[in-house]
């Protein structure tokens, strides 16, 4: 298991050092600094073995988090734990920076004592932790006996993510379907790979211990229902259903129920959380198509023309569109003409950045650039990095639709109809690249 956990700043100074096992000594702290943080070359692996001690590290902005161990630990678990640790810290004091870590070091030690025991991760749900590890320190005296046992039963209980007795005057639910669409396209317009990774994020303000059921246009579910219902139903909904390659759920979802009935039922945590993640690869709506044209004119000039076409309902508007066209390292000057938006050559980034604020569906726009190059003797060809694109669209490129979200609370007297529900779809670009 984890033998020690260290947090360093970018210079390699230790900010937090907590040792859980006897086999990790003080020298381990230095070993990691010398061999990884101060190493000359780029980090070649997130797992490093130095003198029979394994270090697993992640980096958040300038901060290094490293777990040290001498055993054959579950490496996946250690990384998951390090991310979780980051989430917990972020939930307590915002961005993870040197300043914030130093300002909250007592709190961090307290958290580390609670969520890692002898190197074994323990309950790390922020909701539960916040009930008894508060930034002002625990005022244990003020807890009554019932409150204390309520805390411990939540921390260890089956529903560790929610406490009892939550009350809201207005029961409200916000549901966001956030998708990032990824594309790799050949210069000829052939899709090399495309997939959508989506998340269903929820904000719930519900009283009591509500039982929720979430439904979407999952092909498997709809086909199943289709068999039971009329054939007309299949024809109607069959078109709109989507094939989900794989999905993972927040720990509140009853996985065995999903496995057998493919129904998503759960008691939600209070406030923000991510209900599920999913991935689809079939029938993806690619919101934009990028058509590049690069011509080398002699040895010192390049002509680049890039056309973008929007491919969605014309009533919808895409926003925050940005096209990034890489230029050779030897670029000496760039002339740009674009029909829409603003374009700029950024020498420090070796790219032309073309920004368009808004663009409706079924439109097209283009940019052309003349690039002057310095003459060089370098035989090495320019690697031609792909043209990448960023955007945001108000629909789900995977085609996912929320069909229902039902809420039952048997003990309190509010019904599904009393809950106010909001649903929103946002599609963003992930890695959306076209080779040129």
């Amino acid at each position: 298991m984890i033998g020690g956990l260290f947090i360093y700043n970018h210079k390699g100074e230790v900010l937090i050092s907590r040792v859980y096992r006897d086999d990790i000594g003080r020298n381990a702290v230095d070993a990691f600094r010398v061999n990884v943080i101060h190493a000359r070359q780029q980090v070649r692996s997130p797992v490093t073995n130095i003198a029979r001690t394994s270090f697993l590290h992640v980096k958040r902005s300038n901060i290094w988090l490293a777990a040290a161990t001498k055993q054959n630990v579950n490496a996946t678990m250690v990384f998951e734990f390090l991310y979780k640790m980051c989430d917990v810290m972020a939930a307590y004091f915002g961005k993870i920076s040197e300043e914030n870590v130093k300002n909250n070091f007592v709190l961090i030690y307290e958290l580390l004592d609670e969520i890692l025991d002898f190197g074994y991760p323990q309950n790390s749900e922020t909701g539960a932790l916040k009930t008894f590890i508060t930034q002002q320190g625990i005022k244990s005296q003020h807890h009554t006996k019932e409150e204390q046992s309520q805390i411990t039963s939540q921390v260890t209980g089956q529903i560790g993510w929610r406490r009892e007795g939550i009350k809201y005057r207005r029961n409200e639910l916000f549901l966001d379907v956030l998708e990032s669409v990824n594309l790799l396209m050949s210069p000829q317009g052939q899709v090399l790979s495309a997939h959508v990774s989506g998340r269903v994020v929820m904000k719930s303000y519900l009283s009591g211990m509500p039982e929720c059921k979430f439904g979407m246009n999952d092909k498997i579910v709809i086909d199943k229902q289709g068999k039971g219902g009329g054939s007309e139903d299949v024809a109607k909904s069959g078109k709109q259903s989507i094939a989900i390659d794989d999905c993972t759920f927040h720990q509140c979802v009853r996985l065995s129920k999903f496995d057998t009935e493919r129904s998503i039922s759960f008691i939600p945590p209070d406030g923000d959380y991510e209900l599920m993640r999913y991935r689809t690869t079939k029938d993806i709506i690619l919101p934009f198509r990028v058509i590049p044209l690069v011509r080398e004119v002699g040895r010192t000039r390049l002509e680049v023309k890039v056309v973008i076409k929007s491919n969605f309902k014309s009533s919808l508007l895409a926003q925050k569109i940005e096209v990034r066209i890489p230029t050779p390292l030897t670029t000496s000057g760039v002339q740009l003409i674009c029909m829409k938006g603003k374009a700029k050559y950024k020498a420090s980034e070796n790219a032309i950045v073309w920004k368009v604020k808004r663009m409706a569906g079924m439109k097209e726009s283009q940019i052309s650039a003349e690039i002057e190059l310095l003459p060089t003797n370098d035989k090495k060809k320019w690697a031609r990095p792909p043209i990448s694109m960023n955007f945001e669209v108000p629909f789900a490129p995977s085609g996912l639709k929320v069909r229902y979200l039902k809420v039952f609370e048997p003990k309190l007297n509010y019904s599904d109809h009393d809950v106010i529900k909001w649903v929103r779809y946002i599609g963003r670009s992930g890695i959306y690249e076209t080779r040129c």
């Binding site: 100074e13 230790v14 006897d22 980090v43 692996s45 797992v47 073995n49 590290h57 992640v58 161990t69 001498k70 054959n72 579950n74 490496a75 996946t76 990384f79 998951e80 991310y83 300043e99 130093k102 909250n104 070091f105 007592v106 030690y109 004592d113 025991d117 002898f118 074994y120 991760p121 323990q122 309950n123 749900e125 244990s140 005296q141 807890h143 204390q148 046992s149 411990t152 039963s153 260890t156 089956q158 560790g160 790799l184 090399l192 790979s193 997939h195 390659d245 794989d246 999905c247 993972t248 759920f249 927040h250 720990q251 996985l255 065995s256 496995d259 991935r279 035989k379 090495k380 031609r384």
Partner: protein, 934 residues
């Protein structure tokens, strides 16, 4: 409120100030001071001097302060054990606190204080906490048992905590169950044979129930524990799989991978024709692909594991090639791993896509990545025959880019393609030759030279090309030198007329001007071959080489099985068994996959690990066996036991004389005309190709050692080699050997055989202390990396440890005591008589040698060859009495009387020894004597 200010106090006299503040009356000031102390502790300052002052702050009802003091205690208690006792009372009191959070905190902290006296006080509170009404306290206490076990294992057993811990597996709270499982698994690891985690269907059922209810971390503990269970039959296996599969949709990747581990293991037991088996295979692919959209570090771990899974069950991901395509912004470690998997998944169906991608990668910036991409193209060519042509043309395109490292890498892989498809792509040689000048890396140069030599007959100016390399011969690396030597000899055999001078030149460079033994040996071999029998030389040097296959980079099957059992852990990231990087006994047990169900179907790779563990650890040969072998040996009618005449000799005895004088010094004087030489050459063709695979290896120099019996006095004992270290126990390294005494030196002859799939290097040997002070005379000389299935026989001088790049292996072997009889063991007659009388009777022992049909003279001669000298002979009443003496290496004399009665096959030996004491084990001696006598 900001705490960062505590990090900045660095002025002098700080400790003193802190002391004052710690003893302040004001609570706030106290707390501030403790925070400063902790901050100093974090940055590595020694604040142990403040121990009593900090401990004084412990008695507080402020929980935040209490926690800080506890943190301090955990760090410094070990260095101040006496003072730490001061804290015990508070701990014990806190363990009775009405607040469960405080009870748990106390027991948690106490377990982290590694001071014996505190540990004693811990037992009672811990016992109470294990049975506490609050689950939070129980789950903390469960982990505390593991802590205590780490400090004092005996105490935990004596106090019966293990049983209490086992009871917690049936606890009503899932988190308590999970922590108990984690603690028990850890304790069980340090007691490999204890039945601590008594996994039976009932406990498994409890664990599976808890699995549905506990936290993500608890699920991981339980799944990792489940993976150690071996179901009784395929039905149980299936029902567990069914209950584990829902975990594949968990958001936590570690839960997913641990579930994959359980499924991969239990799947082995399912019959392949079962519908469920197919369903399960299909269910495994999507979660594995999903892992690739996690954070890069997790992707890396996942990819390392997928690499293993793909090798074990390629069918799972065979349609998922696209997800392993490299993204421009992937970190380099993810890119390199993806490449590996792409090659593993490459097949005829997807090769076009893969090649297009690889070509794209070869133009990237990271040198390592580009090289690997180029190499990958070569591997695709070897793996998918239909694509070879396309691969070659892609490689040629890349060579045209003239990027130095791309060209070099391409040439290295083209060499391999030639090896796989001989006489198919020679048309590209011209292009390759154009780039001769730009090659500056040894591997690329060696590859190019090999190509020129191999296809010398089709390259018009091959002699010029090779000659150009010859100019700087001594500056080249060994790899290139060896390759150049071989290439020129090949050239000579193909075009003898024009290249006589060249070959002479290279042979003299290799044999006379080089001090590299590999090179010299190879030079001599060629020289002798060429000068004696050019036809044989042709057969040897231009022999048809075995084709290479794509399997060379696969992980050895037994290791792969073990790694599959460790999916998700560091072992699967390193691709090494835990014993290679974990110290001590923990995790050193070798795990293996369960055998398949008895439904008659066969698993693709038979499970060699299964057989290995059933055989008893027969490292030390039993004495009876040894004796039996020796007896058999002697029952052959001939008196000579020299090596049998060679059967493959292509060489005349007289041929030796043709050799230059230098050879004599190499082989030593005793080789003269021994037929063993023929055997050595006979083996040459078989070993030659191996040396191409591993350039730089001197496969040939080892051949000289083949003549195990060379120069042995006739009649001396020449026992066969026994297996000392079976390959199963040593990750594929098999060692067999025998002890012989030659020219006054004890020699230990070993045959090291690499039965693994990867190359072994860095050999070293060491002996444990032993009665006769045997020690290796020199380091183990294995210059060559030992490639798979290659076997080497060096000679050299008991518990023995042999080390290589993989691990250290221990074995023990018995040397016959006769090895220890020295040559000057002949005693003067008078001295013998006097000594015989002087030795007290206590030192005498008698034993009989049975079934020996030699007469006394023959026996005497035979014994003499083993340094047992006959001093006198007397005939009394038809019995021949032989008086004999021998001297051991440590200077002890042993005198013996051997009574031989004509017609009676049983001899009686009485022996006495000087200063014998406990040094000689009588039994061993008897055996030594008996062995020699027979």
């Amino acid at each position: 409120m900001t705490d960062s200010k505590y990090f900045t106090t660095t002025k002098k006299g700080e400790i003193f100030e802190l002391k004052a503040e710690l003893n302040s009356d004001k609570k706030e000031k106290k707390k501030e001071a403790v925070k400063k102390v902790i901050a100093s502790m974090t940055v590595g300052k020694d604040v142990s001097a403040l121990f009593p002052d900090v401990v004084n702050c412990m008695q507080t009802d402020n929980l935040e302060l209490k926690k800080l003091v506890y943190l301090y205690l955990m760090n410094y208690a070990k260095s101040q054990p006496d003072m730490a006792i001061m804290a015990v009372n508070t701990f014990v009191k806190d363990c009775e606190d009405p607040n469960p959070l405080i009870r748990a905190l106390a027991v948690r902290t106490m377990g982290c204080i590694r001071v014996d006296k505190i540990t004693e006080y811990l037992c009672e509170p811990l016992r109470k906490c294990l049975k506490d009404e609050d689950p939070y306290v129980r789950k903390t206490a469960a982990v505390c048992v593991a802590k205590l076990h780490d400090i004092n294992a005996q105490l935990v057993e004596d106090q019966g905590f293990l049983d209490t811990l086992k009871d917690l597996i049936s606890d009503s709270n899932p988190m308590v169950v999970a922590n108990a499982v984690a603690a028990l698994s850890e304790i069980a690891e340090s007691h490999p044979n204890s039945n601590l985690l008594d996994l039976n269907p009932q406990t498994i059922n409890k664990l599976l129930t808890a699995l549905n209810e506990c936290t993500e971390w608890g699920q991981i503990f339980i799944l990792d524990c489940l993976a150690n269970y071996t179901p009784r039959d395929d039905r149980e296996s299936q029902s567990i799989c069914e209950r584990v599969t829902p975990r594949l949709s968990h958001a936590n990747s570690a839960v997913v991978l641990s579930a994959v581990k359980v499924l991969m293991k239990f799947m082995e037991m399912l019959p392949k024709d079962l519908d469920y088996y197919g369903t399960l295979l299909k269910k495994l692919a999507p979660p594995l692909v999903t892992l690739l959209s996690a954070e890069p570090e997790l992707q890396y771990v996942a990819l390392r594991n997928i690499n293993l899974i793909v090798q074990r069950r390629p069918e799972i991901l065979k349609h998922e090639m696209k997800v392993f395509f490299v993204k421009y912004n992937d970190p380099i470690y993810v890119k390199l791993e993806k490449l590996d998997i792409m090659i593993r998944l490459a097949s005829q169906a997807n090769i076009a896509q893969v090649l297009a991608e690889l070509k794209e990668y070869a133009t990237e910036v990271d040198v390592d990545f580009v090289r690997k991409a180029v190499r990958a193209i070569g591997r695709c060519a070897i793996k998918v025959e239909q694509s070879a042509e396309r691969c070659v043309s892609t490689l040629l395109d890349l060579i045209q880019t003239k990027v130095n490292y791309v060209v070099q890498e391409a040439i290295v892989v083209i060499k391999d393609i030639f090896r796989k498809y001989p006489n198919k792509y020679e048309s590209v040689i011209a292009t390759l030759c154009e780039n001769l000048d730009s090659l500056d890396e040894p591997e690329a140069r060696a590859a190019m030279i090999w190509i020129v030599g191999e296809y010398a007959e089709r390259i018009d100016n091959a002699d010029e090309l090779l000659e150009s390399f010859l100019e700087g011969f001594h500056d080249e690396s060994t790899q290139v030198q060896l390759q150049l030597l071989t290439a020129i000899v090949k050239l000579f055999l193909k075009k003898p007329t024009e290249t006589q001078e060249l070959v002479q030149q290279v042979l003299s460079l290799a044999t006379q001007d080089s001090d590299n033994p590999d090179l010299r040996d190879r030079g001599y071999i060629y020289w002798r071959l060429l000068s004696t029998d050019p036809v044989a030389a042709k057969e040897v040097v231009l022999a048809e080489k075995p084709l290479i296959s794509e399997e060379t980079d696969l992980i050895e099957p037994t290791l792969l099985e073990e790694l599959i059992c460790h999916i998700g852990t560091l072992a699967s990231v390193y691709h090494k068994p835990p014993s290679a990087f974990v110290e001590g006994s923990r995790g050193v047990q070798h795990k293996r996959l369960p055998g398949s169900a008895g439904s008659g179907e066969s698993v693709e790779s038979p499970d060699p690990g299964a057989a290995a563990t059933e055989t008893p650890p027969a490292v030390i040969p039993s004495q009876g066996d040894l004796l039996g072998d020796l007896l058999n040996l002697d029952l052959t009618p001939t008196t000579t036991t020299g090596p049998p005449p060679p059967t493959t000799s292509g060489m005349q005895m007289g041929a030796m004389d043709l050799l230059s004088g230098g050879l004599d010094s190499l082989l030593g004087g005793d080789i003269g005309g021994n037929p063993a030489m023929g055997a050595a050459f006979g083996a040459a063709p078989a070993t030659m190709p191996a040396s191409f695979n591993a350039p730089g290896s001197g496969g040939l120099d080892d051949l000289f050692d083949l003549g195990g019996g060379v120069g042995m006095p006739m009649g001396a004992l020449n026992p066969p080699k026994a297996v000392w270290l079976p390959a199963m126990k040593a990750k594929g390294l098999e060692i067999s050997g025998v002890f012989v005494r030659r020219a006054g030196v004890i020699q230990m002859e070993m045959t090291l055989t690499n039965k693994a799939m990867s190359v072994m290097t860095d050999f070293a040997i060491q002996f444990n202390r032993n009665s006769f002070g045997l020690a290796p005379a020199g380091p183990l000389q294995i210059l060559t990396p030992l490639s798979p299935n290659q076997s080497i026989e060096p000679l050299n001088n008991l518990q023995v440890a042999v080390k290589n790049n993989i691990d250290v292996f221990y074995f023990s072997c018995q040397y016959p005591i006769s090895m220890l009889f020295v040559e000057d063991g002949k005693m003067e007659r008078q001295v013998f008589l006097a000594t015989w009388k002087d030795i007290p009777n206590d030192n005498e022992s008698q034993f009989q040698i049975k079934d020996c049909h030699l007469n006394s003279d023959a026996a005497s001669n035979k014994l003499q060859s083993s340094n047992i000298f006959t001093i006198a002979k007397r005939t009394v009443e038809g019995q021949d009495m032989l008086y004999q003496s021998m001297k051991l290496t440590n200077g002890i004399w042993v005198l013996a009387e051997l009574r031989v009665q004509a017609g009676n096959p049983n001899y009686t030996v009485s022996s006495v020894a000087l200063a014998i004491g406990p040094i000689i084990n009588q039994n061993g001696f008897e055996n030594g004597f008996t062995n020699q006598a027979l």
